[in-house]
């Protein structure tokens, strides 16, 4: 099959590799019909994520048609499914509590050691995201092997096109969980740092959960415009001082809940020396810890802090004093995708959530390297790139 493979910094290639096979009873093989490049894929592209190996197949936002099933799979050939980026067994203690991204068994035994050293306990496996999270081949390919296919994939009813449901795989549930973690109450004002896909879905979700006002913060005009389209007020931090603006806009109180959706989307693991590299060499590095500090300082007394943005290592100058003295609550974590998929599929079918607005570019899989370059270099206008293995060259 053809697949997008990683070879190093800014070096991804579409190559011919062996087709995946059923290896365990609960496996299924999916023929990919649509797959997206995630913001967090760019950090693989930039070479910041450790434990990558040459030839690794990327991609953790994908969907397609079931073409083969193991004896323990509940899927049927011909079904269309969206696959969660988190690989969870459905049987361990954490899965029984719907904490799917904390699954004990989704990450192969040998791959759990690194995360155990870094975090104390290993997290679930992820598709196409380094060997620390399992070393699983991703979905930017013609076919993918999906483990625990009786637990993860959600079957899509006929007549709903791919682009409406593709983002159930990651960014829609991630934005939704971010808003849920903000424990929004009617009448609340919610501030969202970052208008990438997760931030924009958090904006929509916050309104659906009863927020009276949502204030979105970014510096890309096009992305702020998208947030405004969903009813958010905006702050462009290059033009206005964020803290002062938030305090004035909230009558001197501060937002009731703050959501940090800056930088990486909801996954990616950094050891702290890698963080230091980024801090030293890029704008993003110094800005990321800044957003969570700013969010904590701006948040009203007794308010809630939700952090879908990824922090993989250590952060210094965390305003622990403000956090304690103001009595804030922080909720965070990798998304428990499987938990949110069914309700969000309904929300899409009932048109309560708009997903397709995000897609700016569609490319055939063969042009995936071009898709990475565009997404990397042109963040203002390239909001989301969808790859289609079956698509003719050069289309859209």
């Amino acid at each position: 099959m053809r697949a997008l493979t990683w070879h190093g910094k800014h070096d991804v290639r579409v190559e011919t590799v062996d087709d995946p096979e059923i290896l365990n009873p609960r496996d299924a093989i999916i023929r990919i019909t649509s797959t997206a490049i995630c913001g967090s894929d760019l950090h693989l592209y930039d070479g910041y994520i450790p434990t990558m190996q040459k030839g690794d197949i990327l991609g953790h936002e994908f969907m397609g048609e079931v073409i083969e099933t193991g004896t323990g799979s509940t899927l049927k050939k011909g079904q269309r499914v969206v696959v969660p980026f988190t690989i969870a067994c459905g049987a361990c203690f954490h899965c029984s509590k719907h904490q799917y991204s904390a699954c004990d068994n989704g990450n192969p035994a040998d791959n759990q050691d690194i995360a155990m050293e870094l975090y104390g306990q290993p997290m679930s496996g992820l598709f196409g995201y380094s060997h620390m999270t399992g070393g699983y081949a991703g979905g930017q390919a013609e076919y993918v092997r999906v483990p625990f296919s009786d637990v993860g994939p959600i079957v899509i009813p006929d007549g709903i096109e791919d682009e409406k449901v593709l983002f159930l795989s990651d960014i829609l549930p991630t934005g939704w969980m971010a808003a849920e973690n903000a424990e929004i109450e009617p009448g609340d004002t919610v501030a969202v740092w970052g208008c990438g896909p997760v931030g924009l879905f958090a904006v929509q979700s916050a309104f659906l959960m009863g927020a009276e006002r949502v204030i979105a913060i970014d510096h890309f005009p096009h992305r702020l415009e998208l947030a405004r389209r969903f009813g958010a007020e905006t702050i462009n931090f290059e033009e206005s001082a964020t803290y002062e603006a938030l305090m004035e806009m909230t009558g001197g109180i501060g937002p009731d809940a703050v959501i940090d959706a800056v930088g990486l989307e909801a996954h990616g693991f950094f050891v702290d020396n890698v963080i230091d590299q980024i801090k030293a060499s890029t704008f993003l590095g110094t800005d990321r810890p800044h957003s969570i500090r700013q969010a904590i300082i701006a948040c009203r007394k007794g308010g809630r802090v939700s952090m879908p943005a990824v922090y993989g290592g250590f952060v210094d100058k965390f305003p622990l004093g403000a956090f304690m003295e103001k009595g804030l609550t922080l909720k965070t974590g990798q998304t428990h995708v499987q938990h949110y998929m069914p309700a969000l599929l309904n929300a899409i079918i009932e048109e309560r959530v708009d997903t397709t607005f995000l897609i700016s570019h569609r490319l055939p899989l063969e042009q995936a390297p071009e898709g990475y370059r565009m997404f990397h270099d042109e963040q203002n206008t390239v909001t989301k790139v969808v790859l289609k293995p079956g698509m003719a060259f050069g289309a859209e």
Binding site: V17, D18, D19, P20, E21, L23, N24, P25, R26, I57, G72, I87, C89, G90, A91, C92, F93, S96, D104, N105, G106, N107, P108, A109, D110, N111, Q112, D113, G125, H131, G134, G135, Y136, A137, R145, P147, F148
Partner: protein
């Protein structure tokens, strides 16, 4: 927790976490017939009933399914079994093991017979986890890497790796018991074979 794997006079932590120099002695005292003086161990919680886990483990021929380095276990009789274990350089090491203590649903202890390439002994304890979370399975293993050239080769595996190996094997045991399969990120059968070697 039985006082045979903790030391009542100090604290409630297991011996394998001990900073004390007499942890090995205490572990040795907890075995009927101890072999070896290097201690490793690990506990994992498995979301299945104690009896089920004990029964699976007690059929020793099941063990190679999740113990990566164990090539095979030939069950000789109810108490004795012959083990063939992979070592570096394509070699294998072998020993005959005898079950020295056996309490249904609770514990299996063993010791290698004289002449083992790697003298070893240990116990697997099964305890109910708190809060209905299944079973805590604790492996406590003593082993004794041999001397000599081959010994050094073997020691390379068995001195450096046993703690990691025990940890990984227990994770695979948990995966097999909880999910019915052992997670692999391989894409093809050929890749999986390669990973197992």
């Amino acid at each position: 927790m039985s006082d045979s794997t903790t030391c009542a006079s100090q604290d409630d932590a297991p011996l394998t976490a001990s900073k004390r120099s007499d942890a090995v002695d205490a572990a040795t005292a907890a075995l009927v017939e101890a072999k070896g003086d290097t201690l490793v161990g690990r506990t994992v919680t498995v979301n299945r009933p104690r009896e089920e886990l004990y029964n699976f483990w007690r059929d020793l021929s099941n063990l190679p399914a999740f113990m990566e380095n164990v090539e095979r276990v030939d069950v000789i009789d109810d108490l004795r079994s012959h083990w063939v274990v992979k070592a570096p350089g394509g070699r294998t090491v072998e020993w005959t093991s005898v079950i020295t203590e056996d309490r249904a649903g609770e514990l299996v202890a063993w010791a290698s017979e004289d002449g083992a390439d790697v003298p070893n002994s240990g116990r697997i304890d099964f305890r109910d986890a708190t809060g209905g979370r299944g079973t805590c399975v604790t492996a406590t293993i003593l082993y004794d890497p041999p001397a000599g050239a081959v010994g050094r080769l073997i020691a390379k595996l068995f001195q450096r790796e046993p703690a990691i190996q025990a940890r990984r094997d227990l994770r695979r045991f948990k995966q097999l018991m909880e999910t019915g399969e052992i997670a692999t990120s391989a894409r093809t059968r050929a890749q999986r074979e390669q990973e197992r070697d």
